[in-house]
Symmetry: C2
């Protein structure tokens, strides 16, 4: 297993995502003991510090649980409550306008990365295919609200590399210029996580401040997979109306 | 303005709710200075400690903001993102069963209380009419997940006083025995708050742990108002699928 040192996403966060996916896919099951820190450090070729940080964060988020003197175990799965979406996905810009606020967007980075398993599965990619990773901070009236992390099929979306994505509504750009309409989600989950130091800095909040973490598998109206969003949203500045 | 000393809800939390409602109804607007601690203490006939606690919590939740040496002000409104519900509201018990978990419920208290403004408005009550306040802890596989606070029209729902509400699905009871179907919501918001000491004790979490706070105005399919739910949900044990 290999993490990507070139990625905008810090290594410990990549490791967290990898372990979360392993839990979701049932590779690690409830009450399973996960590999020890030295084992993870070796198999991922990262430092013990990186491993410890990933494990600590996953304990905070309720995915893992440490048992004194025994090791780290997979925690009870979170209770998943279903709320079906009826209408079109409301874009961030549309939400801002509906609240009388001015939407803003700032690109943190855009890069070509090797695809990971969950991305391959959703976007029907082969191993070795690439994704385009776009990270932006979205703001309302100048205040950061959402750290947007979108993963696109590189082959189909590399045109975004040549677009001005600052101060732009991604949804509007895709709809108006490319006739691509991210109007639905195949799956969309909402949970609470704590701001890591990287995310805290980008969102102007304190480390550890609670954030909404929304994972959305965007498709068009006919169900064609478009991109995966992993968005961190400042809890004290945001409310969902469901 | 009078808070209720007999209520299961601590005074500072009642005061918090009162101030939130005043903000929602536009009585206090963005950038308004709210009354000082001594003024609030006098007008609500509660101690300074109670007022300070309510204000501190509302600052934590992002509703108010303290300005050094100037006073306490109404903060920017939270950005409200709309997600329309398509299907029936999934009851807690149904969510548990869908996750292969055993639902549980424990009554903390049930009491008749004077109605408040937002309750009067939603349930078409007159000033002086009563509500029935039911507080329960809902659990999955024995672990507390949700602190349920439901407010019913007393006149219509006082039959609940004679029902066994421990280990019972409220939704099933209402549907099967009384032919009342809380299948929709008029309005339902989801935000992040921190566990107060009272809530932390009931939910077996640390004080300050982030919780989902869901406010739901339940109606039947034809839109008849039924009850208001103000539910606190443990973030580390719960995930919404939207």
């Amino acid at each position: 297993m290999k993490l990507n040192e070139e990625s905008l996403t810090p290594l410990y966060q990549q490791l967290m995502e990898d372990i979360k996916i392993a839990i979701e896919e049932g590779k690690y099951k409830y009450e399973d003991k996960i590999p020890s820190e030295p084992e993870l450090s070796e198999s991922y070729s990262v430092s013990r510090i990186t491993v410890r940080r990933a494990i600590d964060e996953l304990c905070n988020e309720g995915y893992l649980i440490k048992k004194q003197g025994k090791g780290t175990y997979v925690n009870k799965p979170k209770l998943l409550r279903k709320i079906e979406q009826a209408d079109d996905v409301q874009s961030f810009s549309a939400a801002c306008r509906a609240n009388g606020m001015k939407p803003g967007a700032k690109v943190i980075g855009i890069q070509k990365l090797p695809s990971r398993k969950d991305e391959q599965k959703f976007m029907h990619l082969d191993e070795g295919d690439s994704v385009l990773y776009l990270q932006r901070v979205l703001s309302a009236n100048g205040e950061p609200i959402m750290l947007e992390n979108n993963y696109f099929n590189y082959e189909k979306f590399h045109f975004l590399e040549n677009e001005k994505l600052d101060k732009t509504s991604l949804f509007s750009l895709l709809r108006e210029k490319y006739n691509i309409d991210p109007s639905s989600t195949k799956k969309c989950t909402l949970e609470i996580v704590r701001a890591t130091s990287t995310n805290a800095k980008l969102l102007h909040v304190a480390v550890g401040e609670p954030l909404f973490f929304m994972t959305a598998y965007f498709t068009d109206a006919s169900g064609t997979p478009l991109f995966i969003g992993r968005q961190y949203i400042v809890g004290s500045r945001y409310m969902f109306n469901i």
